[in-house]
Every structure is written in structure tokens, then in C-alpha cells.
Subunit: 155 residues, 3 copies
């Protein structure tokens, strides 16, 4: 078990298994020459596999969505591990795009996105500090509250 | 005519010509050193050149928007060809971002995005399988129903 | 002072200082091997540091938001300079994603995004011509009217 995965275990996190897409796309694509891994948008799931649904500014709390963003980041790390074999190959989390299911007027997307950002820095330290955009979207697949994609530099 | 373009022809698809942007941007930028082509967001057009407009969850059907996403993917391939000369230089479709004009509560963005994904795999086979995000946005340029951008690895 | 910064000064533009993120992310990440810089989403501020807020199609004019997008591009260039030291190292502005706070039915996102695109071409000339997506989102952090992120090729 690699260094990063030991830290995940010590922190009490379990990598969630990635659901295989049911369509003509894949969870992530590695561009070897550029040393960059591009992930698909991932969505949060409850322990029973169901989606974590809801809309910010319309019933769902920032705290709940923060937790969902954190769960989504764990799912993304499961995908990264499946793709490159060992999370110690992660040189840097480069970019995170966090799309928050938002009613008009909801303006705290960064507080939701922090769920993903905090997890990534907790796990990777400085290498987990990424560029980030957090925005509010009108609707998401399966009514999930948040969708997150990443670009990762790998060695 | 290259191998990929022969397949396009055999499948009965015509690459749509790309409209030159009317502003200070371009349809795509190739980063030679990284071997990556980044496209602009493309939008769907009818055969007469007019936009395919509509909002999902508010009058437009998933089937119509699936077709529009497919047309947009053909337009993207027209741009890729214009940029790199020969679609056989496509090593991998890396990433697709599919933005679906969505009323709140519409949750089937993946079914719309499949129009683009299916076309890409039909044309490129395994090399067409990409990472993907599909999200719902509140509004799009010209009221189009879908906007799609791509990252492509080229040799 | 480099060539690009001389041009900025001659044009009467001042690079805005970048606000340090108050969370676990950074304004930009440079991937040296790929020669690509990925920025965080940046938002527009008034001279007093307050956000430029508003929603297109719901009270805010395209002209105001065009100016806000231009201010955001200057803020992005401040980040790029802070990251790579000298704007003359910019080989190409590769990709711009412009997210416009939009009421349903507002369809002129490109006219808003032009504020960023025009500034980039004014400053960098042909090297400033980028691939671009402009889309309407339901809500943005702090109720800002626009959020812009970039991918930049650096030497």
C-alpha cells in the first residue's frame, strides 16, 4: 500500500468504488505525453449507492452539500487509483471544477466546493492545492447536489 | 481521404463546416508540445444554418436534444479537421464537456450528452471513449439547447 | 518591465492584485512538463474591492457585464504574472471559460465574454486569440455577474 493510501486509511477514509459509466464514456483519460489525467464529472452517492440529491438555496444545507462534495472527491480518488494504479503517482491536483445545483440567488458555491478541496489537501498536502472554479448550475444529472471533475498531474 | 474520414462517409455523416467566430476568439487552439487540442464550445445548427434552440424540461424532448448534441459533435470534428488537417491524427478524444440548457428539475443531461458520445465512439472506436461531464445550465448563447467543448490528444 | 507589461501600461491598464483564496485552493497551477497553466475561476471586483454583482436578463446590462469580464481578465493576468513572473512567457492564451450569471432566456453570453476576449487580444495580439466557451449559469459565488477561468501555454 502506497504512502497516500496509508494516509487515507489513517484518516479513516475509504475510496469509493467507481461506477462504470453506462454509456460511451469512461471515468478518466490519461494523456501520457502531457502527464495529465482528465476525469469525468463525478457525483455524490450515499453508502447504499443512491445519489445524494438536492438543490442549494432550495432546501439543501451548505453543510450537507459540503459532505457530498467530500464524498465526490473520494469517488474521484477511487477513479484516479483505478486509472494509474497507485495514488503516489499523483504529482499535483491541478484543477477542480465544482458545479453546484443552485437556485438563483444562492451564492455560497465556494463553501460547498470546500468539501472537495479540504479532502484533497488533507490527503495530498501541498500537492493537493489546486486551481478551482465553483459555479451554480440550474440542474444536474439525477438531481444530485454537486458534480466535480478534476485535472491531475501524474508522474 | 484518411481512414477516419472514410468511416464518416461510410456512416453517412457529413462534417459540418465551422462558422468563423465573429469575435476575438478561434474555434480551437492546438498546444503542440502537450499534444492537446482545446476546442471552443460549439453549438448545434439546423441544415439551413439556424441554431437548434430549446430548453430541456421546458418543451424540448430528450430525443431532439440528443440529435442536436450529435450534430454538435460533427461540427466539432469539422473544427478538429480544419485545425490538424487529418482526423487520423486524433489519438484520443480526451474530455467532453456537455452543457445542456435545462429547466430546474430536469435531470437527464447524460441522455442528451450521449448524442455526442455515441457519435465519437462510432467514428473513432475505442479512441473515441472520453472522460465527460454533463451538466444543466440556465441559459445558452442564442437559446441553443446544448453547447459542447472538447479536449483532444493529437499525434 | 517586459514587452507585454509595457503594452498594458501604454493601454492604460493596471494589473489588479490577486486576492489570496481563503480556502484550500490556489489562484493557478503551472504544469511545467506540459507547459500549461490552469487558473482558478476569477471574479470581477470594483476598485474598492467589492464584487461586481448582478444577473444578466434580470437588471444588469450587457455593457456593465462586458466591463466586468474585462476587469476579470485583468485580474487573471495579475495571477498569471504572479505565477510565472513575466507575462512575456505567455506563448498563447489557449482556452477561456466564461460563466455568465443568467436568467433563463438571456442569450447574449458571447457579448459578455467579449470583454475578456477583447482585452486578451488587445494585450497579446494573435497570441491572445483563444478557444472559448460562454455559458449561462444559474448562480455564482457572491452573486458576481461573471466568472472566468483560463488555460495558458507558457514557455
Amino acid at each position: 500500500m502506497g504512502r497516500v493510501e496509508e494516509r487515507l486509511e489513517r484518516l479513516g477514509y475509504a475510496l469509493s468504488g467507481q461506477a462504470a459509466p453506462v454509456a460511451n464514456y469512461v471515468p478518466a483519460v490519461l494523456v501520457e505525453d502531457a502527464g495529465l489525467l482528465f476525469t469525468s464529472g463525478h457525483v455524490p452517492r450515499n453508502p447504499d449507492g443512491s445519489f445524494i440529491t438536492g438543490r442549494l438555496g432550495d432546501g439543501m444545507s451548505v453543510e450537507e452539500a459540503y459532505g457530498a462534495a467530500k464524498a465526490t472527491a473520494l469517488s474521484l480518488l477511487g477513479t484516479v487509483k483505478a486509472e494509474i494504479g497507485d495514488l503516489d503517482r499523483v504529482k499535483r491536483i491541478v484543477k477542480v471544477l465544482c458545479l453546484v445545483n443552485s437556485a438563483p440567488g444562492f451564492a455560497e458555491q465556494p463553501s460547498v466546493a470546500n468539501g472537495a478541496s479540504d479532502l484533497l489537501v488533507e490527503v495530498f498536502g501541498e500537492a493537493g492545492r489546486h486551481a478551482r472554479s465553483a459555479v451554480g448550475v440550474s440542474a444536474l444529472p439525477g438531481d444530485v447536489c454537486v458534480e466535480v471533475e478534476m485535472v491531475v498531474e501524474v508522474s
